[in-house]
Amino acid sequence: MEKKRLYIQAAEQVSIQQPLSEQWMEDPVCYQDTFVRAINPSFRDYIPANEVRRMGNIMKRALVTGLKVLNDTGIAHPDAIITGTGMGCMDYTVRFLDTLVENGEQTLSPTYFMQSTHNTVSSALAIYTKTHGYNVTYSHGGLSFEQALFDAWMQMQLGTISTALVGGHDEMVESHFELLQKTGYIGVEGMVPCGEVAMSMLLNSDNSQDCLCELAGISICHKPTMDGLKRQVERLVHEAGMTMGDVSAVMTGVNGKAANDDYYMSVADTLFPNVPLLRYKHIFGENYTVSALGMYAAAHCLKRNAVPPFMYDTSRSLSCDTLRSILILSHTEGKEYALMLLKRP
């Protein structure tokens, strides 16, 4: 099957950096804390005040990023809305669970339950924009966003859709952060802070409009050997009409925790020993779908044809002479890997 070319037309974020802006590229906000809440934009500029009051943070952030992307691209009703979220509406879920456990089963109200399912965000985007097309949510831990993007990619290859609003969204609450810290997933010595994520982008198989970059391919695999991963990378690059030498930079999810970073460095050292490495989690923090912000950052770098100096991984004294493409590598506990290849159109 001849591969269709897909384009990221716009991408917006709410995170621990300045919201709905690329100010982080010049002037990133730095944190010393272990857990940082997202900087919320003025929701009322996008959503009526009476509705803002009834929504949890994750939903408000997802809506403003989604609505801004749709507004900026002039696509009122995308063919599909596909969302990735590791924990969904965590705040409302925990509130309902807390009340259930602390006060028993007799005094519950439906408010928090109604917004507790993982698909709340994706369906809120549809309800808000009256979009009846394909609508699905993936909730697969640290690869939730990649799976959502993979679905959009497949359906565009099949020709069943030509536009998709794809997002990665996760919030965090104090009690869950503490548990994650206890398990060593997050908040350990030397690690980037735990952040919050809202990223929406518009994927289009038509490039007649201005775009940030091309999504040249995506691949997901489970427990690959290094050889197996190498073959996946080579196939991805080949199918994008590129050679391995055309990969200008590899973006990894290093976060300062050795158990996580070692997998990235092992892959980078084996498959890309002489390629500049980029990182993003020291800017955006750690959370299940933070790779959505990695992709957003890579897309904006490609658009500007420039990488902010603080994004280079200092373990290598290499920087990009020319920026043609960025390969984004994600893994979860070294078991599942995802590759996303972006290039300048």
């Binding site: 099957m1 924990m87 669970l97 109604m114 399912t117 809120a124 949510t137």
Partner: protein, 400 residues
């Protein structure tokens, strides 16, 4: 689309462990909805469709050590997946499995474990913290790991339509040429979280649910799992396996109306069914049976009746909801009902709509007699979720 062959199916629900028990219950019109036995809820007044095994019994059946980390969802899921893989003659712990993609659906995931430990965290240990941070992917992994390494794992979560959407994602992977074999479906156990959630919405019937009845008063929650092994034609012939049925079409649309209610005209359901028929290149007259979402809530059954009438008009085939057998198994319902449809195709019967007595105004009059007048060749099955995530699929008889 090119036909996709179903070569293995496994099912676990309140009406049985495996297809043989499930078929027997369906033919005997014997419900699995009964008094609560395993869920530690104070709402004893609410009948539920529980899998009639404790976690410890499931662990014994599976031959695994008693481990508090196992979610009930994962244990039920393993039982169903085991049956599906065995029927498709797929070898576990093998190189073969490493080419097969596993896509599983859940929403509550490991919530039962979180409930068990929640509020006890101050004095808990690392094991408890690990259990309390379960996410959907952990359940999928827990189900899959028992059998070996799959090529990829994926978790779909669209509330009550999750399992059909897992089937759709798997089918799309095959149509894109990215997989020869996929294993798809969903698993969900009962939890205090969603039992109480649905209870606060006041949509749980205190008696056995009565889908499409004038006096219907809500749904009964259930639990279970079901998985399908789906293969390309080339894979079927190279492995020399006999298909059980064919996936002919599917559709996914959003009602875009309300977080927890369906629109009066059933727009999302209408679109999902239309899309499934279009992809299967079929007309409404080609369908001999509809397995409705039919939860038994006043809202769903009215909205779905409208949507079905809009699609089928004068060529309305027999319709029923099997939720009065299994209870509403939420994220697993799409694949559980797909296996029920598969049994109906293989054994040529109409699953009856038990507990139905009185027609609703302008509603669907469901099937109460299992005997079919026509050969059942194609079945349409619906699953609708919170947020208006509506999906349909069409299963067809395989003629050997």
């Amino acid at each position: 689309m090119e036909p996709i062959y179903i070569t293995g199916a496994g099912i676990v629900s309140a009406i049985g462990i495996g297809k043989t028990e499930t078929l027997a219950s369906l033919l005997a019109a014997r419900t699995g909805v009964r008094e609560m036995k395993y869920l530690p809820s104070c709402h004893r007044e609410l009948p539920v469709g529980e899998v009639q095994l404790s976690n410890a019994e499931m662990m014994r059946t599976l031959g695994v050590d008693n481990d508090p980390r196992y979610t009930r969802t994962a244990l039920i899921g393993r039982l169903a997946l085991k049956e599906a893989l065995e029927e498709a003659r797929l070898t576990t712990q093998s190189e073969e499995l490493k080419k097969i993609h596993f896509i599983s659906a859940t929403t509550v995931g490991g919530m039962d474990r979180r409930e068990m430990l929640h509020g006890k965290e101050p004095d808990n240990n690392l094991l408890h913290a690990i259990i309390a941070t379960h996410n959907g992917a952990d359940c999928t992994e827990m189900i899959a790991d028992y059998f070996g390494d799959f090529a990829s794992l994926s978790t779909v979560s669209t509330a009550c339509s999750s399992a059909i959407n897992a089937i759709i994602t798997g089918a799309n992977m095959m149509r894109c040429g990215l997989a020869d074999i996929v294993v798809v479906g969903g698993a969900e156990c009962l939890t205090l979280f969603h039992l109480n959630g649905f209870n606060t919405l006041m949509i749980l019937d205190h008696e056995q649910c009565k889908p499409f009845d004038r006096d219907r008063a809500g749904l009964n929650l259930g639990e279970g799992a079901a998985y399908l092994v789906m293969e390309t034609e080339a894979s079927v012939s190279s492995r020399r396996v006999t298909p059980l049925a064919i996936l002919s079409g599917y559709g996914n649309a959003c009602d875009a109306y309300h977080q927890t209610a369906s629109s009066p005209d059933g727009e999302g359901a209408f679109r999902a069914m239309q899309e499934a028929l279009a992809l299967a290149a079929m007309s409404p007259a080609d369908i001999q049976y509809i397995n409705a979402h039919g939860t038994g809530t006043p809202n769903n059954d009215e909205s779905e009746s409208h949507a079905i009438r809009r699609v089928f008009g004068d060529s309305l085939p027999p319709v029923s909801s099997t939720k009065s057998f299994t209870g509403h198994t939420t994220s697993a319902s799409g694949s559980i009902e797909a296996v029920i449809c598969l049994l109906a195709l293989q054994h040529q019967f109409l699953p009856v709509n038990i507990n139905w007595h009185t027609p609703m105004e302008n509603g669907i009059v469901p099937v109460t007699n299992a005997k079919t007048e026509k050969e059942i060749r194609h079945i349409l099955s619906n699953a609708f979720g919170f947020g208006g995530n509506d999906s349909s699929l069409i299963l067809s008889k395989y003629d050997s």
